[in-house]
Symmetry: C2
Subunit: 615 residues, 2 copies
């Protein structure tokens, strides 16, 4: 019974200025829905989410218990009300706050998503049981949430936590739902503790992004090596490892899951939050990394016709693979496209949205494989070509990973060689970007011919006699002296051999021919590509000029070649923060047409042609 | 392209005689659906279940590959076709076989259910992958089943088995679905291997029923003790055990699950089937047995206001609680009504269908608790009253369980006592049914007064001087000598003490007062109950006459008192065989109104009244 005087009045919602005639016992929420400007909430307006804050000016019903629970004194004195609780009693102006759209940043790439997490929390004060109300714990929670239909598939983990969760804080609980299903009940009010970690599992490194799922905001980033590198540097060697040893698959899975757990611990430690407040984890990675993290057989990824176990997006319980977060926390794995175009590329598509672009754009991620998608809003086509390990320093005489002492930049100037070395140390070897720079400079200066042949030391065609002096006959044929022994960290000459140049030719031909096949599929020349987006660390650090000179990527004006940083990580974070992004990922993965290059005659022809360096 | 001549013709379905006009390229299945007599199938007519056998007479399309796969030569030559494959080419008569309705039998109770298992198997020959068709294993299976929408919640166990299952028998696989979701893929054709085990977990014994889920038929029954008896004879003592020892709950769970596994092994061994062909298990048991099997906390069942964790039916993976059947096999637990009216009573309701009866019928299961439902199609009301252990031989001086040497029947004739002893051995003590017989005979003969007082040895009111001689003053008051030391197995007199009679009075008063409360709720006298159905072993062996004489059950004509045997087990089997029975169980459990007797003043009054023996 209420003794408040009720008068009909006009309710105006700002900033839309839409209006509704107030009616007896209709809440502002209900009126806002009637007027076509529904106010954001996550509990279907049953008073459990506390998210429908509005600023009210005019006569209204008195504060409810629900409002007293959710609102601070400052908010109350500032005229803030919950729209689902407050009823207008005359002419009222209602300011509806606009939803925050947080930005997720990654080098070179800005992507926005309104938070629409898969996990939703609602605080509910349950009526304690009595002899007159003996409802089961589960029924009591479901009833309070307005879930009247009994869910059949109920998780044992949920049932096991119920008795304690209900009674620990006198039946004040936080219900946790995933994709609409009740999956957990926390004791007390944990509504603010709603975090997630998005992972990009690379073959070499793992990056984790901690996000507040209530706001969508990124809080922190942590990264580390993928510990599976101890079992093989590339995907093929890891797949071989699982074949040599019956426990190999399990060992690789355990290694990566332990790393994910340690990154989660680091992120939680730095942010000062409990592991249990991380409610969801997402994973993007290439198909092999995806399968290994889940403990799925990878053998058939490596064997023709190269078949993955699953390519759809997967929703699992994080605990099922040993990830330690909220005991009922979830795990979402982005979908894969094919065995060699994986969830990392789908993450990149989410971040780069080729499907929205009017003109054909190339998304390219170069590692031991060149993974590429050429697409625009009409069509998207993908392929993967085996570049081999040389861009990661493999199979190169003085090649090395991009770590301390690696030469990552090379330029020829005034007949001399200038080097950039990671950490400013004495040089130890060449990493991929340095290798490409060096070969590009040698091609540009004429030290390497179109065919890839290193000019003979006694050649008279060279315009750079200072550099020509560095060409010499080594034990295994011609070589270029990059760093003399006295300047190197190892006390040995650092050289580039003719064989190294052949490795680079093979690798760049594979990538270039792949791009060509995609262009042929689109019926266009490579130069007609509108923009090239270079994803991943290699794409981030590579010299675009050098890459064009050696013919690794098509010869576009440099402003149409952009690095997009860790696009896979951004995509993983988008899928973490928004279920809309997840649905989009599923659609994108299925829309992309995959072209198998292995055994493809067009590819073979283009590959042979692409062995040459551009003139 | 088909060169068969197509003519319009009339298709007649028998035995219904419904007809349909044949149309180009419509199958018999489609036509049967149009004519309103759909033919039974489980694959939505996509040709993977092979269940839509019909006998055809008239011109039809030629045999398809699918038919060649499913039909024997004998069937083919006998005119048998698959309705989903066969198209009529003129006037055709189609005999549609009527569905088998197998009978599930239990002593005194016949219940029929058409098989409609939760688990469904479909044999599919997949196209092997090629470079031109690189679909993932999961996609390949889903596509063949016509499941185009990607299921998001995909089980890790399914994904892990896919690569081997697909390739082991050259892509001939059996897809296993539970409640519509793909949950497993078996290598090869395992369609005939579709079994289930229905359990009734009693506080003392466990019974398992092996069923063929393709036909619904019961194959075998196996039973054993509930190994939890080592941790306490009744539910309360087991709950106390879980409170005394942190590992107690886990220990009790492990004990019962091991017993379920051993029963499954025995059943499979005798039937000569593999454990993996058991695809589902159902469990009915009282709420405590239900919770202990799932490892759920039982503490609050024993503490006022007596709250269970969950009362809805639960669908889980059998492996989650350690049951070893098909690696992706399911577990269904029937719903509970309240902490002391559990899934065993719901099973009994499924078997006895009080909800269909026009007149109020009482379903009564007597053990340490008397669990009772009074109901008819309009209404069902349930209660549980604490009878205490005396009906199981507890708290009785010479009481014992119903095992070898137990006196299970007593009658007085010609001034003497006649005994029935289990196993024909020398008597050791009295089990519950013998105890009730004895007390009933003593009441009938006047040796025990209405108040429960044993007649003094020197009384002159007794009409049976031969029996009166057996009444004597023992160490703890008056007692009745049932078996002299020289005739007993233990060499000691077997006697019934005044205190024993008080125990029986307490127990029967609790049950009787509970029944009275239910009758009051219905606004009727106890004698107006139409039928009493006695469930469980005790109800099966008890003398109905004796039960009426002591006032344990209302005084109805004996033909209106029936034993229904293990109704809980029958209900569990029904839920195993038919998803319809499951839905019904859910509805029944929620329809029953539970009346808490603890602290109920009506019950207290009736209890006091019911202490007297009827005159």
């Amino acid at each position: 019974m209420s003794f408040e005087t009720r008068e009909k009045g006009m309710v105006t919602f700002l900033p839309s200025s839409k209006t509704a005639l107030s009616e007896d016992s209709l809440s502002l929420m209900k009126l806002s829905q009637l007027s076509g400007v529904p106010i954001y909430n996550t509990c279907n307006a049953i008073g459990t989410c506390g998210k429908c804050l509005v600023k009210v000016d005019g006569p209204c019903s008195t504060l409810t218990k629900v409002e007293a629970h959710f609102l601070t004194e400052e908010q109350i004195s500032g005229g803030i009300r919950l729209a689902c609780q407050c009823q207008p009693l005359g002419d009222v102006r209602v300011e509806v706050p606009q939803q925050e759209v947080p930005k997720i940043l990654s080098e070179g790439l800005k992507v926005a998503a309104a938070p629409r997490p898969n996990i939703r929390k609602d605080v509910v004060q349950l009526d304690p049981p009595t002899l007159a109300d003996q409802s089961a714990d589960l029924t009591r929670v479901r009833r309070a949430l307005g879930l009247h239909e009994a869910g059949k598939e109920t998780e044992l983990g949920l049932l096991k936590m119920l008795p304690k969760s209900l009674r620990q804080e006198s039946y004040l609980v936080t219900a946790v739902r995933a994709g609409g299903s009740l999956v957990a009940v926390d004791a007390g009010d944990t509504i603010k503790e709603l975090y997630g970690v998005a992972f990009d599992i690379g073959t070499t490194t793992v990056v984790g992004y901690l996000h507040d799922l209530n706001t969508g905001r990124q809080i922190d980033i942590a990264s580390d090596l993928n510990p599976q590198v101890d079992y093989g540097g590339d995907v093929i060697s890891r797949i071989e490892y699982t074949m040599q040893d019956a426990a190999g698959l399990h060992r690789l899975q355990r290694a990566i899951v332990q790393r994910l757990n340690s990154l989660i611990e680091i992120l939680c430690g730095r942010a000062g939050i409990r592991l249990e407040s991380v409610c969801e984890v997402t994973i993007a990675g290439n198909t092999t990394m995806h399968h290994l993290a889940l403990g799925l057989e990878v053998y058939h990824i490596a064997q023709a016709p190269y078949i993955p176990v699953a390519d759809q997006g997967l929703e699992l319980r994080a605990g099922e693979i040993g990830i330690h977060i909220h005991p009922q926390g979830r795990l979402y794995c982005l979908p894969n496209i094919a065995s060699y175009v994986g969830a990392d590329i789908v993450g990149g598509l989410l971040a780069c949205r080729l499907d929205k672009r009017p003109k054909p754009t190339l998304l390219l991620d170069i590692g031991t494989n060149g993974e590429m998608v050429l697409g625009c809003r009409d069509r998207m086509v993908a392929a993967a070509s085996a570049a081999g390990p040389c861009f990661e320093g493999g199979n190169i005489l003085f090649g090395m990973r991009a770590s301390g002492g690696a030469i990552h930049g090379v330029s020829f100037a005034g007949g001399d060689v200038r080097l950039e070395v990671i950490g400013g140390e004495q040089p130890r070897g060449l990493c991929g970007t340095g290798l490409i720079d060096l070969v590009a400079e040698m091609v540009r200066s004429g030290l390497v011919e179109e065919s890839g042949r290193l000019m003979a030391p006694d050649s008279s065609d060279c315009t750079e006699p200072g550099l020509l002096r560095r060409v010499r006959q080594g034990e295994k044929g011609c070589e270029f002296l990059l760093v003399p022994a006295c300047e190197s960290a190892t006390g040995r000459d650092i050289v580039l051999s003719q064989r190294d140049i052949r490795e680079v030719q093979n690798a760049k031909a594979a990538v270039c021919a792949g791009i060509k096949v995609l262009c042929i599929e689109f019926g266009m020349e490579m130069e007609e590509i509108d923009t090239i987006l270079l994803a991943g660390a290699f794409g981030n650090y590579i010299s675009r000029t050098s890459a064009v000179i050696i013919g690794l990527i098509p010869n576009l004006p440099l402003e149409r070649i952009r690095s997009v940083g860790n696009a896979a990580g951004v995509g993983s974070a988008l899928a973490l923060v928004s279920t809309r992004a997840r649905s989009l990922a599923e659609r994108l993965a299925r829309r992309v047409e995959y072209i198998e290059l292995s055994g493809n005659p067009t590819f073979s022809n283009e590959y042979a042609d692409a062995m040459y360096f551009p003139v």
